[in-house]
Symmetry: C2
Subunit: 343 residues, 2 copies
DNA sequence: TTGTACGCGTTATCAG
DNA sequence: CTGATAACGCGTACAA
């Protein structure tokens, strides 16, 4: 059943049928109703490929993500997909892993599929070396590029993120201002977000003129158990610490397991701040205090900006939200903030 | 840059260019090389929409999933996407939520997009009432339908799943054969998988001629904290239980929190078996013993079957794997099985 | 081995 | 308000 069949049945031309389908041009109410009736009864659906060929779009957005099984990314993908679908776009998911080359290759593959835009899920796509981000600029030359939780200033690139640096600075400051000095920042990657967290941590020390032993910023990528072992090793080497600010909840739970292994009472002797407000944080005992980076809002903003751009309207190149601390059982010094719920 | 441009540059017809691109018909080595060179230097990529129009496929698979942010589903989506991509298919993700109508609607939307097949991720798509599954049969009339972790016998429907009934029966049997009688099955949904778990649980009792109080099978859908409260309520009503077999790790952790609330020592006084071998299980203390339902293998099988079907070859309508018990800290009676790693 | 010409289903343009 | 027709870019019989 194609547009020719419909036009024949209705005794009109295909142009008129097309006009009715797309509701843009003016068609007499009578013929419109007639065609509508025939469309309904024949269950006619336009062929998407022919449509794509004509319009040069199939209303599809590419979602590029290092690992969609990750706690944080999977939620992001979920929120994004729902928001896109609500705007009548489909989402093609593409998991890249961590290698730069694979990311660039998969991004190209997505562009070859003529997606209308690309959303980069997670700041791991932003490399510290500027030239390594060329693949993003190349993509942005073809379609709008949205970056979730990362920032790259470039034409046709739009970023929705949370102010990781600020909240880490705030949290660190609270510890420092309560006389705590033996802090440790345990973060996972040298991504945009990772670098912000590091900067925020350092900044809090610097503002107070306090020295910061470089051993107190630990870049570590591994499982929960490995994180625990890493901290045991750090302690073994003679560095004392009674507070861990973690770059994500997995690392925070690693820290909690470290505390268990060392028989340190949490939060009395040992304080832990998690990150991402993931479900992991309510599995352990005590439950994690954690930084809520407003993922849901970030995703809404990302999609809102994208839709604006796709409709030829302006959109902010950067949308930044502030984060909240959710105090549960692994800290004591923070104000309790109402949780946004959902877990 | 389209196929006409290339053909002009090479001084051949578009047919020859097409032949080279698709490598099927015979082209002289000389012209082939010439065309290949031009393709490389001009960075020519066939327009996918035109290609789709001609071939009636864009090599895309629809992934339908209730909630891709869920621990279990997100891993499934991840494995499936990777396997599909390895087979040169793209995955369109569509999260449906739990309502039957939405599922049917989104499935139709996927079909309208002319996906080559649909993968239903999770047994929640299989309704107890047969007529409610008509939407799946309708879809299967158009494209192959793969069901992950569920089973529906129908033409053009292929299922890859884990033998949930068997493993629950086995686990229950171990408990019963060690003289445990006060078991509770806590499961989340009346999905295909949920019904299998229930059947396995009942079966173990029946085989031994043991009576089973219906209050010992608790169908409950809620958060970790709610699961804890639910168990507290069950206990409050006078039912004694010292063992919980959970339908997923969230519920198992709910049970663990229940034990904490009641000051019951785990696993000495209270035993808990989780399900899915998710990351949640290694967050708590003690870590969860859990049933590993071989999700990664299930996904490989699902995609393998699909590829077979798409290539016109036969495929088994049902591929069933057996599950393993991974004993960690919340049980004592089970053999330790080597973990497949990855968490 | 290569080229021609048509079909695919739609939208856009222009003429009426 | 409506119709005819030309793109859109590719795959592929069929012809040479």
């Amino acid at each position: 059943m194609n547009i020719y069949d419909i036009s024949k049945k209705a005794g009109v031309s295909i142009a008129t049928v097309s006009r009715v389908m797309n509701g843009n041009a003016s068609v007499s109410e009578k013929t419109r109703q007639k065609i509508l009736a025939i469309i309904a009864e024949t269950d006619y659906t336009p062929n998407v490929f022919a449509r794509g060929l004509g319009l040069n779009t199939m209303k599809t957005i590419g979602l590029l993500c290092a690992d969609s099984s990750d706690q944080f990314f999977s939620r992001a993908v979920y929120y994004l997909e729902r928001a896109l679908r609500a705007s009548h776009y489909d989402a093609i998911l593409s998991c890249t892993g961590m290698e730069l080359e694979t990311r660039a290759e998969y991004l190209k593959r997505l562009l070859a599929k003529k997606v209308d835009a690309v959303i980069l899920v997670g700041s791991s796509f932003i490399e510290p070396v500027a030239s390594h981000n060329q693949y993003i600029l190349d993509a942005a030359a073809e379609v709008p590029v949205i970056i979730l939780n990362g920032y790259l200033k470039a034409p046709n690139v739009y970023c929705a993120l949370c102010d990781d640096g600020d909240i880490v600075s705030q949290v660190t400051s609270v510890y420092l201002d309560h006389g705590k000095r033996d802090l440790l920042l345990l973060y996972r990657s040298d991504s945009y977000s990772g670098r912000c967290k590091l900067a925020g941590f350092k900044n809090a020390f610097a503002k107070r003129g306090l020295p910061l032993d470089p051993r107190r910023t630990v870049l570590f990528n591994g499982t929960i158990a490995q994180a625990r072992d890493k901290l045991l090793a750090v302690a073994e080497q003679g560095l004392f610490f009674d507070t861990v600010i973690a770059g994500d909840d997995e690392l925070a739970i690693g820290a909690l397991k470290y505390a268990k292994a060392r028989h340190l009472a949490v939060p009395e002797q040992f304080s832990i701040m998690g990150y991402n407000n993931s479900q992991l944080g309510v599995c352990c005992e005590p439950e994690l205090s954690t930084i809520d980076n407003q993922l849901s809002f970030c995703c809404s903003n990302a999609v809102a900006a994208l839709m604006s751009v796709l409709n030829g309207k302006p959109a902010p190149a950067k949308t930044m939200l502030s984060a909240n601390v959710i105090q549960r059982g692994t800290t004591t010094l923070f104000d309790t903030v109402r949780e946004s719920g959902g877990l």
